[in-house]
């Protein structure tokens, strides 16, 4: 266990060192987040109507609702992209084989390499929220930060299973996973990113409730906008934990099986 944690930290430190050799992207990120937050603020002012306010949880502005949905949707992107990206990059730069002849296992290398993208996403989210709070009145003071942190961890863990499934597919078939893009697409419609799930037709609502994104956004809005405690968001959290229990071990098993197949077929470093 300690060894795995040490290895995960090594991968994170490696990525921080690599990232520190590029300096300008962080500044650009700050500016981009400012424009993003401003865009949501003005769109929200433009579409504001009594009907919209009625459809949202009480006391929530559309700006706050949409900003939370948009920026936290990034975690799904990070989960689905970072594992694939790590694998592709290791294959392309030739670091995959040197890694595989060390004492670290590929699943640990993969998970370790995804920590930095998640941390980066969290920083980006913080910048968006910061601009939203400073310039556009985002209600940050009402947040329950303990709940926010717990929802974040549950979100990352449950989404990671999806990402590891995707990289198992990539390992076997060498090309990006089309179901990943399908999942991102459908989640952006039914996950409650920019509008409440309640306004969807009932059959789409069924799909929405089979999707961890719906619960993650629900819990995050509760914790961030309503200051909801763990009890109030307990149901969404429980579903996220169940998704994690289901997806994380099965995705790691699928990945290990895919790795074994590539060692049998000799396609490990093939592109």
């Amino acid at each position: 266990m300690m060894r795995t944690l040490r290895d995960l930290l090594l991968f994170f430190q490696r990525d921080v060192r690599i990232a520190s050799t590029y300096r300008s992207p962080f500044v650009l990120e700050l500016v981009e987040a400012l424009f993003g937050a401003a865009m949501f603020y003005y769109v929200a002012r433009f579409v504001d109507s009594p009907e919209l306010r009625n459809a949202l949880p009480q006391g929530t502005t559309y700006f706050a609702y949409a900003l939370v949905g948009f920026i936290f949707f990034d975690y799904l992107h990070a989960a689905l992209d970072s594992f694939d990206h790590t694998l592709e990059e290791a294959r392309d730069t030739g670091t995959l084989e040197p890694l595989l002849v060390t004492q670290v296992s590929l699943p640990v290398a993969l998970i370790g390499s995804s920590i930095y993208p998640f941390v980066l996403t969290t920083l980006r989210v913080a910048i968006y929220l910061g601009w939203g709070f400073i310039l556009f009145g985002f209600p940050l003071r009402s947040a329950n930060w303990l709940s926010v942190v717990i929802v974040l961890v549950a979100t990352m863990l449950s989404f990671s299973g999806l990402g590891i499934f995707s990289s198992a597919f990539l390992l076997l078939f060498k090309r990006g996973n089309p179901s990943k893009w399908f999942f991102l697409g459908i989640s952006s419609v039914v996950g409650g990113m920019l509008f409440p799930v309640g306004i969807l037709p009932s059959w789409l609502q069924i799909i929405a409730h089979l999707n961890p994104v719906t619960y993650a956004l629900d819990a995050m809005r509760g914790a961030l906008l309503d200051g909801a405690g763990l009890r109030a968001i307990g149901y969404s959290l429980l579903v996220l934990v169940l998704f994690t229990i289901l997806l994380l071990p099965t995705s790691i098993l699928a990945f290990s099986w895919a790795l074994k197949r590539t060692k049998i077929n000799g396609t490990l470093s093939h592109r």
Partner: protein
């Protein structure tokens, strides 16, 4: 240390044929029908250097990749330092250094030293021991200044030496090299061979199994030469014994007589 550093016992490896069109979707599940290794057996003794000689497709890299746990054998066993490569891959990797002869395999924006530290730590090296290993080996490899630079700024030959240094960091009992001097110029290659012979083989007593197309390199480094041809082990003997057995005066000629390949089939493959 067991009696053999490496034991290869009736080792077979087959690959599936590459599929195209819609059948490519079934590629991961295709049956292995192309034989790359056909039941070869031999040992490498502790401290011994054995060269693998053969044309492209003879099975040299496949054998090295099975030993380094990057491939699973179809049948038979490959044992490194007493551990089965298929059943105990982590134990095998603890005793193994592997260098694939490529000048890739590093994080280009990290310095050589940062790369070495990262890979060393993944091999359970840490603290002052890791620092002293990096300092000692980088001095021996004449890389002391180079490792302070980002890898993307280093020449191909320097990266090759860095790659060998990485393979030796954890003092492996067995070193596997796949065409180790492929990207080196003639002088660098000669230095590299001398270093392998004096430091790695003679001083440290590391066992070496390496594939090469450069016959002078094989004659300089190898105690015995294993000739592979289309997945079969044709012979494994000292260079002198191979020449005497085939009535040849050169290793190139001996290879040609034992495998039926024309002499230039090796020259064509050898780097200039």
């Amino acid at each position: 240390m067991p009696d053999s550093a490496i034991t290869i016992d009736r080792l077979e490896k087959s690959f599936p044929r590459a599929q195209s069109g819609w059948r490519a979707l079934l590629q991961p599940f295709a049956s292995p029908t192309m034989q790359a290794l056909r039941g070869i057996s031999f040992d490498v003794r502790p401290g011994e250097a054995v060269a693998l000689l053969g044309t492209n497709g003879a099975g040299k890299s496949t054998l090295l990749r099975i030993l380094s746990t990057l491939l699973l054998p179809t049948r038979g066993r490959a044992v490194v330092a007493g551990h089965d490569s298929a059943r105990e891959p982590a134990a095998v990797r603890r005793h193994l250094g592997y260098h694939a002869g490529s000048d890739l395999g590093f994080y280009a924006r990290l310095t050589g030293e940062e790369n070495l530290r990262f890979f060393g730590q993944l091999n359970d090296l840490s603290g002052s021991y890791l620092s002293s290993r990096i300092a000692t080996l980088s001095a021996q490899f004449e890389l002391r200044g180079a490792i302070e630079n980002q890898v993307r700024t280093l020449s191909s030959g320097t990266v090759q030496r860095l790659s060998l240094l990485r393979a030796l960091l954890h003092e492996p009992k067995v070193l596997l090299l796949d065409e180790p001097t492929r990207s080196l110029d003639a002088l660098a290659a000669a230095d590299f061979r001398r270093f392998l012979k004096t430091e790695v083989l003679q001083r440290q007593g590391t066992s070496l199994l390496f594939a090469s197309h450069t016959l002078s390199e094989i004659e300089f480094l190898a105690d015995r030469v294993a000739i592979l041809n289309e997945g079969n082990l044709v012979a494994i003997e000292t260079s002198a014994a191979l020449k005497s057995r085939s009535g040849a005066t050169t290793l190139e000629d001996a290879f040609s007589r034992l495998t039926g390949h024309s002499p230039h089939s090796l020259q064509e493959l050898a780097p200039s």
